[in-house]
């Protein structure tokens, strides 16, 4: 009777992550964001969309924690409601970026030579298109909406992810441990699952966090310009756009949405780095007999593996 190899005791990546100041801070902020987003679907202190011109520009008080804006909306409630928008945009754009990115990367590295080369050129061409321009073009065609923002930033960053992941996949596939895995009977799918994905993960995780951060900024920017969220959807970018017209008169009000955007983008970037570091076994344990910082372990002397210039990389067959 076959018993699969039991999973060896794993050090929790999350546990390691939360122990670093960066990881803990980023995770805390994002957790708060998620909670705020969830809560805002059911409840906000006041209706974020109710306008009351007689209550315009009220300073912070018990009733309006962050005051009101030019049309009397409660800024705090609006920010809370908009957090849900932010979460939705970031997650959806992230998903689109992952699908586009990994899909293109796989096509560009694991297929026949002509397909690979064609996809490589395609990726380079697509990378050249500025995301904002694409968003504006889509908005012009289909009208501004969050979907436009999500698709534009998802695809835009997905292509960058594809570019980076592709070279990582090609590097990993050349490594000796992949050859050894194939010699142990692993098929292409197993090699991908067990060796390629975990080893491209560090680069990929950072890119994904950047993609999500950029999508938030893009949403804010596009909504600011009028191509993103419609008036019925709460968005930090829209609020910023509304408030900045009065920057000279009421400068403090922009702090609300401004800080919200900045902190969220920062948190995502930091989280990406922290996850990458937490998942790297080399950074979690020390090498034998080391004290203090040492240069990378010196290679034991030996003839270098065959010069890559002399033998072309073998095709990845199944």
């Amino acid at each position: 009777m076959r018993r699969p190899a039991p999973r060896l005791r794993r050090v929790s990546v999350v546990g390691v992550l939360l122990r670093t100041p960066r990881g803990a801070a980023a995770a805390t902020w994002l957790a708060l964001l998620l909670v705020a987003a969830a809560v805002s679907r059911a409840w906000t202190p006041l209706d974020p969309f109710t306008t009351d011109p007689y209550s315009a520009w009220l300073p912070p008080s018990a009733a309006h924690l962050l005051g009101t804006d030019s049309v009397g909306r409660d800024i705090a409630s609006y920010l809370l409601a908009a957090s849900a928008t932010t979460v939705v945009v970031a997650v959806c754009a992230g998903l689109v970026a992952v699908v586009v990115g990994l899909g293109l990367a796989a096509l560009g590295s694991l297929t026949a030579r002509w397909v690979r080369d064609g996809v490589a050129v395609l990726i380079d061409v697509l990378v050249a298109f500025p995301t904002i321009l694409v968003a504006m073009a889509l908005a012009a065609a289909f009208g501004g909406s969050l979907t436009v923002v999500v698709v534009a930033t998802g695809v835009g960053y997905g292509v960058t992810i594809a570019r980076v992941s592709r070279s990582e996949i090609r590097r990993v596939v050349r490594e000796d441990y992949v050859t050894a895995a194939r010699a142990s009977g692993a098929g292409t799918a197993a090699v991908l699952r067990r060796h390629v994905l975990p080893n491209i993960a560090p680069v990929f995780v950072v890119q994904l966090s950047l993609a999500m951060a950029t999508s938030i900024l893009a949403e804010a920017g596009l909504s600011f310009l009028g191509y993103g969220a419609s008036a019925e959807t709460a968005s930090w970018g829209r609020l910023l756009s509304d408030l900045q017209k009065f920057l000279g008169v009421h400068p403090w009000t922009v702090l609300g949405p401004g800080l919200a955007i900045t902190l969220t983008v920062l948190a995502l970037n930091l989280l990406g780095d922290a996850v990458r570091d937490a998942a790297d076994p080399r950074l979690r344990t020390r090498s034998p007999g080391r004290g203090g910082t040492l240069p990378p372990e010196p290679r034991a002397p030996g003839p270098s593996p065959a010069d890559p210039a002399r033998s072309p990389a073998p095709e990845v067959t199944s």
Partner: protein
């Protein structure tokens, strides 16, 4: 004495990677540093060059041509490298700049340490290339490293190391990455050049058999300390320290026996 090292200790963090090492090298002498990886032999050469990695601290005295070099600032050390001490590292693939022609790389020490016109530099490079046995010296100086074989690249590195006529040549595993036939030629080249010019040679290796072909005396290193020293023939025939004995036995068990 071209190279004198007294009580050199190199620490990284709380570890001593070189522990109280002393040696003397005179003109024309060929001394080997033998030990396994991690024994501190490479760190010793880096200490002589003042190129220790960040985080490493060295104490003790190192004198090149009578001049104390420990504690020298970078701008006083740099003129010595290439001019007083030449170096050959292990990997010929990474020791050469892939976007510089061979001729420019060989002549670089001359341009760094003195004024030389382009044409003079090229002429000296051609002469140096011929001296190390590179084929077609007048055309090879215009080639790029990727157009040469591993053995040829290592010859280029040797030519570069010696062109400014240093008093000391440091070689750190220079033949380990080469084929066995090329290795034999390069070792013979070392012997010839050192004899002809009277340069001192400090040859670092983990391979006793290679050592026996190029050095007269040797220091055996283990965990940063010198555990035995003496003529190579004596070390091979009657090693005293257990580390040396272990090395000799292991070498016997893994190398070619002609008889």
């Amino acid at each position: 004495m071209t190279l004198e090292i007294d009580h050199l200790t190199v620490t990284v963090g709380d570890r001593r990677v070189v522990d109280d090492l002393s040696l003397r090298l005179g003109p024309g002498e060929r001394l080997g540093l033998i030990g396994e990886s991690g024994s501190g032999k490479s760190m010793t050469t880096l200490a002589v060059l003042g190129l220790l990695p960040p985080g490493a601290r060295a104490t003790g005295s190192i004198r090149l041509d009578g001049r104390e070099v420990t504690g020298l600032a970078e701008r006083d050390l740099a003129p010595l490298r290439g001019a007083v001490v030449g170096t050959v590292f292990q990997d010929p693939r990474t020791s050469l700049d892939p976007v510089m022609t061979i001729g420019r790389q060989i002549a670089e020490p001359l341009h760094l340490h003195g004024r030389l016109s382009r044409r003079e530099g090229r002429a000296r490079a051609v002469a140096a290339a011929a001296e190390v046995g590179l084929p077609e010296p007048t055309t090879i100086v215009d080639r790029y490293p990727h157009q040469l074989s591993g053995g040829q690249r290592q010859r280029v590195v040797i030519a570069t190391a010696l062109i400014a006529r240093p008093s000391v040549l440091l070689a750190d595993e220079p033949t380990t990455a080469l084929d066995v036939t090329t290795q034999a030629e390069v070792l013979a080249l070392f012997r010839r050049l050192v004899d002809e010019r009277g340069t001192s040679l400090l040859f670092v290796t983990h391979d006793l058999a290679v050592l026996s072909r190029v050095a007269d005396d040797a220091l055996v290193l283990s965990h940063g300390r010198v555990v035995e020293r003496g003529p190579v023939t004596r070390l091979l025939r009657s090693p005293e320290h257990p580390v040396t004995r272990g090395l000799v036995e292991a070498t016997r068990a893994t190398t070619w026996r002609a008889s």
